[in-house]
């Protein structure tokens, strides 16, 4: 089967961003004063644990950003036709989750539909919930469910534990070779916490995640771990697919914010005078408009544009993607003012410092002063802002989607999940798993991001000076 790769706008930007981050990492590794604070971050257990969790989320997001369209099975080889459904590498990896659709709601790990209905059983019509097509379909009897779940969970945990032991052993051998000691000596140092990185936390974290992953995989093979939604889709699958949306909003928005904030903020602080007046005017105007309303207006405009130009977009995914991109753009345009104000204040201070005066005494050009003296000395503020903003943006997505001005309703996102499940809360008995899963995933990502941001801020902010 051949495939037709699809590169959505956000895919391109995400991989461009990834490339930029890699280049930045390479640059940072060569500069001692840039590397030092990162080393401090790497020594904090909490930050490193959070970084691992973030790493898992980012990997899923990246896999989910490699899109393609599969060839239709009955299309001729010389003129292949492709499905309109845009899939990703991640979809291919969890194909089972995606494909196992039920009729409607079912509870987590259930083997029956949630709602009772009239079914024919032994010639008699009884009111009962019917069996799921996939969840627990391998079981003959209902009372075999609990033992089966226990068995699968234990097996998954064991597999995870085994995998983490292997990883740990590999790590020990590799590290011991690098430090030129025996693995035994390294283990002793590890146990005593005498290594220069939080190895105990990292190993513990990896083991926890591997075991959790093992349990999930075992259970997911036979059940819907988080149940199914109204149209019978696996909630675990939806939650995992939503990761990419959250990451895109958290990162691409910042990408829009940065050039505006850095350019305007530094220019206002450095040049002062009328440049400052104009920039301050612009950001006061932007700031004064309630953000949600500005976003709502802009999203409506995009919607009008999409609806009046349907021929530009060949798939639903492309349409949803352009709306996602537009959301990032408009959120970026409304949120650069905070960072700009911070950078303006800092530039105002820096421009009076003696080293800037010394450069001016040599007649160094403004552009050069800004690029060599101002920007490198406010860079830490930019970095802190990036990591701090990320979690706020992920949370904002949920609220905007709830209001109806967030991502496309057809797109997988935690906001849409919450929005869709909210009305079901009134049902009796309550359908809680969709909300629960969305909140749990969002909480994990945001908490990890916040803890990581804390570590970065402590390491980079000179005012904190290592104080806690």
């Amino acid at each position: 089967m051949t495939i037709h790769p699809v590169i959505l706008w956000t895919d391109a930007l995400i991989f461009a961003l990834l490339a930029a981050v890699l280049v930045l990492v390479w640059l940072i590794r060569r500069q001692e004063h840039l590397r030092a604070p990162w080393r401090v971050v790497a020594q904090r257990p909490m930050a490193m644990g959070a970084a691992l969790v973030l790493g898992v989320f980012v990997s899923i997001g990246l896999l989910d950003s490699l899109h393609y369209r599969a060839q239709l099975p009955d299309s001729p080889a010389d003129a292949p036709q492709y499905s309109v459904e845009v899939l990703s590498v991640f979809d291919a990896l969890v194909d089972g989750l995606r494909a196992r659709q039920e009729k409607t709601y079912s509870a987590p790990l259930a083997m029956q539909l949630y709602a009772k209905e009239f079914v024919q059983r032994d010639g008699v019509t009884v009111r009962d919930s019917s069996r799921l097509q996939h969840g627990g379909a391998h079981l003959a009897q209902a009372d075999a469910r609990l033992p089966d779940i226990t068995r699968r969970a234990l097996a998954g945990a064991a597999q995870g534990a085994l995998a983490s032991l292997l990883v740990f052993a590999g790590l020990a051998v590799w590290q011991a070779r690098r430090m030129q000691t025996s693995p035994g000596a390294w283990l002793a140092a590890w146990r005593g916490g005498r290594l220069d990185w939080p190895a105990r936390t990292v190993v513990l974290m990896v083991a926890t995640m591997l075991m959790l992953g093992g349990v999930m995989m075992q259970l997911a093979a036979g059940y819907h771990v988080f149940g199914t939604d109204k149209v019978g889709q696996d909630v675990l699958y939806i939650s995992l697919k939503s990761i990419r949306t959250g990451l895109v909003i958290g990162t691409l928005t910042t990408l829009v914010t940065l050039p505006l904030a850095i350019g305007f903020g530094i220019a206002a602080g450095y040049f002062r005078g009328w440049v400052d007046d104009v920039i301050q005017y612009v950001y006061t105007v932007l700031n004064s408009i309630p953000g949600v309303l500005l976003i709502a207006a802009a999203v409506l405009i995009v919607q009008v544009y999409i609806e009046s130009n349907p021929d530009i977009f060949d798939t639903a995914a492309a349409r949803a993607d352009i709306r996602l991109l537009a959301l990032c753009l408009i959120m970026g345009v409304t949120s650069w003012t905070g960072l700009a104000r911070l950078l303006r204040g800092e530039s105002l201070k820096l421009r009076t410092l003696d080293y800037v005066e010394a450069a001016r005494a040599f007649g160094v050009s403004n552009a050069r002063i800004i690029s060599r003296h101002i920007f490198p000395n406010v860079f830490h503020l930019v970095l802190i802002a990036i990591v701090l903003d990320f979690s706020g943006l992920v949370l904002a997505e949920a609220v905007l989607s709830y209001i109806g001005v967030g991502v496309d309703p057809a797109m997988y996102s935690w906001g849409n999940m919450i929005n869709g499940a909210r009305l079901e809360l009134a049902r009796e008995p309550v359908v809680w798993w969709q909300l629960g899963a969305a909140f749990a995933f969002m909480f994990t990502l945001v908490l990890a991001a916040n803890l990581f941001a804390d570590g970065v801020r402590d390491a980079f902010d000179p005012r904190l000076g290592g104080r806690r």
Partner: protein, 653 residues
């Protein structure tokens, strides 16, 4: 009789660093004990240990502190609060930061009165007013209701002292109480402290780095180095014959009147206090050190009434007085820099449409001239406009009026790059004058690149030569500024200025952020560079002893104008303007004061926003007459290029 304060074997740690190590001394009632030393040697930490006010992570590890027979270190925190402010009080270096900015002065003093004397309401107010009177705050009743930011630096420090006195302490700890103040104000504050000590029979622990302040105020002296006390003795014997090599070198590093030779410098730096230190801590910097010094920490030895921790105590060769070479006074004919009528006015904007309602005349009609290879010192207190003159010369601040002729060429906005190749600047604070994000080599290259000095290919070699010239190692170019100490950073800053081969270097207080021993290194370097490169310096400073050492000519500035100008010897030895007289006599000196009468100035320098009518100096001048209050005096020539602007002097000539 038991002394008031007795400190025995005090050891204080902050994290891994042992900042105070086995310090013992005592202070009697009515006595001033001075702790002397350079920055980072543990003086302030000793004081904070006594008060038990160490920063987070700090603790007194062992030792005893007895105040009036009571062991302070053993007290529970609740009782310690009674001691703090009540038995011993402390005043700090920076009165602007040490007072709460949003609480009125009267209330801040009242708090201490309520705590230690149970005074409240009107009684407290009355007592607070009395205290302000006692420390010489004029118009005390009104000052009670002001906030600290409304007061001048000198008044703030007096308020600080009044607050310390509120609990009627028996011991007053003064931590660099006048370091942040101008000399004339310093003299006032030190007078107050001396008077109060005598009146109230307090013991005083004076912490300072300034030998002059010690000489004028202390009864006994202890010298600290790297967390240890290394020498102790009565003031007179200490100043007559310092015994420890470190103390001796501190004396020799000090530029003194009529000096002209090279200063003694102390090589190296204070060792880091977190390592395990073996042997004498000064051994590595000591020219007399023998093998034993490096292995064995010396014990106390007593010589007459002095105590010293040195293996070689008493066997050191007698101190040689430095030869005094007078600055040459021969004048070159042609001026390198000629400035006429320089004015820098900053507009004050007010009201609805931000109309300009007046000007701050930061620099008002200043004329200067400097010959090649010579040094002109521009002297004055903070806020007199001396730094603005320097910046205006380099067009870092746009001058309002005036002509600048450099090397025969009139400088305008158009040929600013000519100016920048010929004149460069060295700044006060070497920590803020070097970009922490740039390598040293790039810092030095910046000027050459911007002004296109030399062929691009040769600039790297030029960097190596520059580093060599200012005495830095060859590999310094590849490192970042944070890898260097204050003195080394100032060398980098000097090298940066020299990179474009200027003929004039404007030095803006280049040594005032440095310790005495490092200051000596920089002054020597500046002198060497002048001799070998024929540089002219405009040396902006408030430190008269440095002027004495380095300058050929002196211009004294007061509120934007030059009030006295002439050869350094003439102006400093025989000052004529009352302000110069006051400045010269306010500097605390090691030697007994001689020369023309001592003038203590009352009050503060007025704001340049609203200078007094007539002679700007008239409200503070002891000789002011009616004419001084009406017209600004013209120039009175005293011969040999020495002139003053003073009606009083004009009347005498």
């Amino acid at each position: 009789m038991k002394p008031l304060l007795e400190v025995r074997d005090l050891v204080t740690d902050i994290g891994p660093a042992r900042v105070v190590d086995g310090v013992s001394f005592h202070v009697a009632a009515g006595e001033t004990y001075a702790l002397l030393g350079e920055s980072g040697c543990g003086k302030s930490m000793t004081a904070l240990s006594l008060m038990r006010l160490l920063p987070d992570g700090g603790r007194v590890s062992s030792g005893a502190v007895e105040l009036g027979g009571e062991n302070v270190l053993g007290l529970p925190e609740r009782d310690m609060r009674r001691v703090r402010g009540g038995q011993m009080a402390m005043i700090f270096q920076e009165p602007m930061l040490a007072l709460n900015p949003v609480i009125k002065v009267g209330e801040q003093i009242g708090e201490a009165l309520a705590l230690h004397q149970n005074l409240g309401g009107q009684a407290a107010r009355e007592a607070a007013r009395g205290l302000l009177d006692a420390v010489g705050v004029p118009d005390a009743v009104r000052r009670l209701d002001t906030y600290p930011f409304e007061l001048s630096g000198g008044l703030r420090q007096r308020v600080m002292i009044a607050m310390a006195l509120a609990g009627q302490p028996r011991l007053l700890i003064a931590d660099e109480p006048t370091t942040a103040l101008d000399v004339t104000i310093q003299a006032q504050v030190l007078d107050v402290l001396r008077r109060l000590k005598t009146e109230r029979q307090m013991g005083m622990l004076l912490i300072t780095h300034d030998l002059g302040v010690v000489a004028e105020n202390a009864d006994r002296v202890g010298v600290m180095y790297a967390g240890e006390l290394v020498e102790e003795g009565g003031r007179d014997t200490f100043f007559a014959s310092p015994q420890h090599p470190y103390s001796r070198m501190l004396f020799d590093a000090l530029p003194r009147p009529g000096d002209g030779g090279r200063l003694t410098t102390i090589p190296g730096q204070v060792p880091p206090l977190d390592g395990s230190l073996v042997g004498c801590r000064f051994a590595r910097r000591c020219p007399f050190a023998i093998a034993r010094c490096r292995d064995e920490s010396p014990d106390w030895q007593t010589i007459n009434d002095q105590r010293v921790r040195c293996h070689l105590a008493g066997t050191l060769p007698a101190r040689i007085e430095r030869e005094v070479t007078a600055q040459t006074t021969a004048r070159a004919a042609k001026a390198l820099l000629q400035v006429e009528g320089l004015k820098v006015h900053f507009p004050i904007r007010r009201g609805l449409i931000q109309r300009t309602v007046g000007h701050v005349r930061a620099v008002d009609d200043v004329a200067l001239s400097i010959q090649a290879g010579r040094t002109l010192a521009l002297v004055g207190e903070s806020g007199c406009g001396k730094t603005t003159v320097g910046k205006a010369l380099l067009r870092l601040v746009e001058p309002t009026a005036g002509s600048i002729v450099l090397g025969g060429e009139t400088i305008t906005a158009k040929n600013a790059s000519t100016l920048r190749r010929q004149a460069q600047m060295v700044f006060q604070d070497p920590f803020s004058s070097l970009n922490p994000r740039m390598r040293v080599a790039d810092i030095l290259l910046e000027g050459m690149d911007a002004l296109g000095v030399g062929a691009a290919g040769e600039r790297r070699d030029a960097v190596a030569q520059l580093l060599n010239r200012v005495g830095l190692p060859d590999d310094a170019g590849g490192r970042y500024p944070h890898a260097f100490s204050g003195g080394q950073r100032q060398r980098i800053a000097i090298a940066r200025a020299l990179a474009v081969s200027p003929r004039l270097v404007i030095c803006d207080e280049p040594t005032s952020a440095l310790d005495v021993s490092v200051q000596a290194q920089i002054l020597n370097l500046l002198k060497d560079l002048q001799d070998s490169l024929g540089l002219a310096y405009l040396f902006i400073t408030h430190n008269l002893s440095v002027v004495d050492y380095l300058a050929h000519d002196v211009a004294v500035m007061y509120l934007g104008r030059i009030v006295e100008h002439g050869a350094a010897v003439a102006v400093l030895r025989a000052p004529r303007h009352p302000y110069t007289l006051a400045l010269v006599s306010a500097v605390p000196r090691i030697e007994a004061q001689t020369g023309p009468g001592i003038i203590r100035l009352a009050g503060d320098q007025p704001s340049p926003l609203n200078p007094p009518d007539g002679c700007h100096f008239n409200p503070r001048c002891p000789y002011a007459s009616e004419v001084c209050r009406q017209t600004y005096p013209g120039q009175t020539d005293l011969g040999n290029g020495h002139w003053v602007r003073c009606h009083w002097v004009a009347g005498q000539v």
